[in-house]
């Protein structure tokens, strides 16, 4: 019992503490490719640490919902971190709280809460960003749900841990439906974490989608929302790695859990390299073309579902 408890702690703390690092590494690499020395890879930590010490200025239209919902969004991401194989390959304490589809619903819950509490600030820019985030959610959410089901239809269960084992068998890994699902999930990961070609964190307000949701925040709630964003990127990226892209090489046992953080780090460098190439080679898509981008991901995931059913019918 003690070992399960320790593994849970390692996974939860691992997700919370390590996630900003990857965004820092990616920004550093992007700066280097853009012929700049670039900020330190621990910049996200410095930003969060400074924001925690700053005051919070709130618009007169907002109530305490605007101030305290970021705490709930942050804790939703912590709940998700217990449920999917992001560090430790075996189910840990409280994993059966929710299965893969439930995880997708929790991601949608976090997105829903983020939009609603941002709307309370009453600023037109936030409304502009929320309108776009809400309008794309129909394809974003549905692709997330269908991709999470893609592997379930092969393995016969919606439990991510069993899918993690199945993906390691080369015969399933190289099957066409698995590849289609991986591509669809990667495109979704680009959209959910605001990477190019879908969105970039420039200064122009009229192009904002996710940035608009944190536009009116400051101080502690802003720190938590940014941290939540880093955790979301880490959680989705780790599921992409462990269940779809690179499922091999995970260790077991309490010591194994420590090593897993290191192994995940190496896997993540691979994922960050692909994201780097895409981020530096592409410009931002026109707003309505983002919908075509997501539609392709959605169609890919549905074809992978159909293939997995018809292929070994």
């Amino acid at each position: 019992m003690i070992s399960v408890f320790l593994e849970t702690i390692i996974q939860a703390i691992g997700v919370i503490l390590v996630s900003p690092l990857y965004s820092g590494i990616l920004d550093k690499w992007k700066a280097n490719v853009a012929s700049r020395k670039g900020q330190s890879i621990f910049q996200p930590y410095f930003d969060i640490f400074k924001l925690l010490k700053k005051e919070t200025t709130v618009s007169s239209n907002a109530s305490s919902i605007f101030i305290y919902t970021p705490y709930v969004v942050f804790s939703t991401y912590i709940v998700i971190s217990l449920v999917i194989p992001v560090v430790y390959p075996e189910p840990i304490l409280l994993t059966p709280t929710v299965d893969f589809l439930g995880g997708a619903l929790l991601f949608s819950l976090a997105g829903f809460l983020k939009i609603i509490e941002a709307m309370e600030s009453g600023s037109n820019f936030v409304a502009l960003g929320s309108a776009r985030a809400a309008s794309f959610s129909f394809l974003g959410e549905s692709t997330l749900i269908t991709v999470f089901f893609a592997v379930a239809l092969i393995t016969g269960t919606n439990n991510p841990y069993i899918e993690h084992e199945f993906a390691q068998i080369p015969q399933y890994y190289l099957a066409l439906d698995h590849i289609l699902a991986t591509v669809a999930f990667f495109m979704l990961w680009l959209f959910e974490t605001g990477k190019l070609p879908v969105e970039s964190s420039g200064l122009a307000e009229l192009g904002m989608i996710d940035d608009a949701l944190i536009y009116e925040h400051s101080g502690k709630p802003l720190a938590l929302l940014k941290w939540g964003g880093y955790m979301k990127q880490y959680l989705l990226g780790s599921v992409l790695l462990n269940v779809f892209l690179l499922p091999w090489g995970m260790q077991l046992g309490v010591l194994g859990a420590m090593e897993d953080i290191g192994i995940m780090f190496i896997k993540w460098l691979f994922l960050l390299f692909i994201a780097l190439v895409i981020d530096t080679s592409l410009a931002k898509l026109r707003l309505f073309k983002v919908q075509d981008f997501l539609a392709v991901a959605f169609v890919l995931s549905i074809t992978s579902l159909l293939l997995s059913v018809i292929q070994n019918a």
Binding site: A31, N32, V33, A34, S35, R36, K37, G38, Q39, S40, Q43, F46, D47, F49, K50, L51, K53, K54, E55, T56, T57, P197, L203, A204, E205, Y215, E216, H217, S218, G219, L222, L276, V277, I278, T280, S281, L282, L285, K289, D292, F293, V296
Partner: protein, 215 residues
């Protein structure tokens, strides 16, 4: 929408970026490589008829000088860029310093020079300095230009919207003393960066010192 347009993720910009390599200079550890002389400290002697009275009883006051060269050759530029003054620091911004520029009446020169500190040569991000597009996320307000009637209300709203602790930085002679065109900014600055427009080296060094680095 042909799927091909974003399908071919050819890597040529990625490769071009790597081929170009990192161009950031070692400043402030090394001396500035190339400065326009007429944006640095002046010194010399003799009285001259200075349109903004930057030179009276033979001492050069950087807060009023618009570098009109009327005092040349009695007074000439020395190339020294440390002409800024930092009256208030806060070292919680040492590693993460978000600045919000606000133009209350510039000719465009200060905006251009401030933008260039994010260029590869200077690269403000290596010191943890970033631009932001809302005062809510900002730690410092960089005021540029003379105080114009129309921008009084936005300036006060920006100041009020910023969470404490915050710094006020006056960039350029217009914001400090109004130069020859008008009066300086209503809000008293904590950091002043003279120049018309100030050199990116001066701006960068001033921001580094303002955010509490032991320079």
């Amino acid at each position: 929408m042909d799927i091909g347009s974003w399908g071919e993720i050819y890597m040529n910009w990625f490769l071009k970026g790597l081929k170009k390599g990192i161009k950031t200079e070692k400043f402030p550890k090394t001396n500035p490589i190339d400065i326009a002389p007429w944006s640095t400290e002046l010194n010399g002697s003799g009285n001259v008829n200075c349109p903004t009275k930057a030179i009276d009883n033979e001492s050069w006051n950087s807060e009023r000088c618009i570098y009109c060269r009327r005092c040349y050759p009695l007074y000439s530029p020395t190339g020294n860029i440390d002409i800024f003054k930092v009256n208030k620091k806060n070292n919680i911004f040492r590693r993460s310093f978000y600045v919000y520029p606000i133009d209350i009446g510039t000719c465009g020169g200060c905006n251009l020079e401030l933008k260039l500190i994010s260029s590869p040569q200077y690269d403000m991000t290596r010191f943890g300095i970033f631009f932001t597009n809302t005062p809510r996320h900002a730690d410092a307000l960089i005021i540029m230009g003379i105080m114009t009637e129309g921008m009084k209300e936005p300036l006060l709203n920006a100041y009020e919207a910023m969470p404490e602790p915050k710094l006020i930085i006056a960039l350029g002679v217009c914001a400090i003393s109004g130069g020859i065109l008008g009066t300086g900014s209503q809000i008293k600055p904590d950091v002043i960066i003279p120049g018309c427009p100030p050199n990116p080296y001066t701006i960068l060094k001033a921001l580094i010192e303002a955010k509490g680095d032991k320079e």
